[in-house]
């Protein structure tokens, strides 16, 4: 077994424990804000139409964590990764932190310019598109999940498609509810399908029973 083969084995092991569909479901939860937030903004205002999703995300995160611990881990197992993988994940966390801070700044600038009427043409969709592309490409690389590259392309093109639909009178709210609603559906269904396939293919196991002999 050569070094590249071992590296490939490590990647495959990593994917097996990370690519469980739960990340997709979490991403679909984030996309819900982009899909439904604009529809709520008339009733709740810009701030609350976004803020209302914070408790929703918190609840979703708790549910995903519980499903991970109770359903996924007993089936795919738990791993402590080696130093190379840990370093890669730390770099990923730093990059994600920077991207999110930049996204927050861009979001505030965009909101202010939209409100003051100085937002020009395609600037906001371009910024949003870039954030999605960078974020999901970084995640695809760090987590070894090529599917996230595809998500990056889909979500990166979403704001442009939405803006185009809006300008041609096919959609309201810059096309966000239509485009991000559709993408949310695609991502959620992908995640749920992946999770269902893991649950169906693997039986849950309790290592304390099977390795009981070691306590003897």
């Amino acid at each position: 077994m050569t070094d590249p083969e071992l590296r490939s084995e490590e990647r495959s092991a990593f994917r097996a424990t990370v690519d469980t569909g739960l990340w997709d479901i979490l991403l679909a939860g984030v996309l819900a804000m982009f899909a439904f937030g604009p529809l709520l903004s008339r009733r709740l205002g810009d701030f609350w139409s976004a803020a209302v999703f914070v408790p929703v995300w918190a609840l979703l995160f708790v549910v995903i964590w519980l499903v991970g611990e109770r359903v996924v881990v007993p089936r795919v197992g738990r791993v402590r990764w080696g130093s190379r993988r840990k370093a890669r994940l730390s770099r990923f966390s730093i990059v994600m932190l920077i991207v999110n801070v930049v996204a927050l700044v861009l979001g505030v600038v965009a909101a202010v310019s939209v409100r003051s009427g100085t937002a020009e043409g395609w600037r906001v969709p371009t910024a949003l598109s870039l954030v999605w592309l960078v974020m999901l490409s970084g995640a695809a690389y760090a987590l070894d999940l090529p599917r996230l590259f595809l998500y990056g392309v889909l979500l990166g093109s979403g704001p442009f498609i939405g803006e185009w639909l809006f300008r041609h009178g096919y959609a309201s709210h810059h096309g966000f509810p239509v485009v991000f609603g559709a993408l949310m559906g695609i991502v959620a269904v992908t995640g749920l399908t992946k999770l269902a396939s893991i649950v169906r293919r693997n039986r849950p196991v309790d290592d304390e029973i099977s390795l009981g002999r070691n306590d003897a």
Binding site: E9, R78, R80, D207
Partner: protein, 117 residues
């Protein structure tokens, strides 16, 4: 240093570690080599072994000092993590080197490979 390449291959073959060489244990050791530690559910999932088989093979690897079992608690739930010891890692590295030496230079030539297919 052996006089003939064939002697070197024989030496390498003689040095193959039978504890690691068994297919099931080789799968287990390979999985443990690429991570720091993993639980038994991960090994079952990745190797396709049954629980009983895995338990038996882990016992043999543990007897040889190649793996160590660590008890942990996740909240109130106990969890056993299995890791390759330094001796186990070194044994696997040596096993790979021996296999390369034993099989490398004497690999099948293209014609033989085609005939076999």
């Amino acid at each position: 240093m052996p006089d003939h390449p064939g002697d070197a291959r024989d030496d390498a073959l003689n040095r193959i570690d039978p504890v690691i060489h068994a297919p099931a244990r080789l799968k287990v050791v390979t999985q443990l080599y690429v991570v720091e530690a993993a639980d038994a559910a991960f090994l079952v999932h990745r190797t396709g072994l049954t629980w009983g088989n895995l338990s038996t093979h882990l016992g043999k690897l543990e007897e040889s000092g190649y793996v160590a079992l660590e008890k942990e608690f996740r909240g109130k739930k106990p969890c056993t993590m299995i890791r390759l010891t330094d001796k186990g890692r070194e044994a696997f590295r040596q096993y790979r080197a021996n296999m390369r030496q034993a099989l490398g230079p004497a690999g099948p030539v293209r014609g033989e490979e085609a005939e076999g297919e």
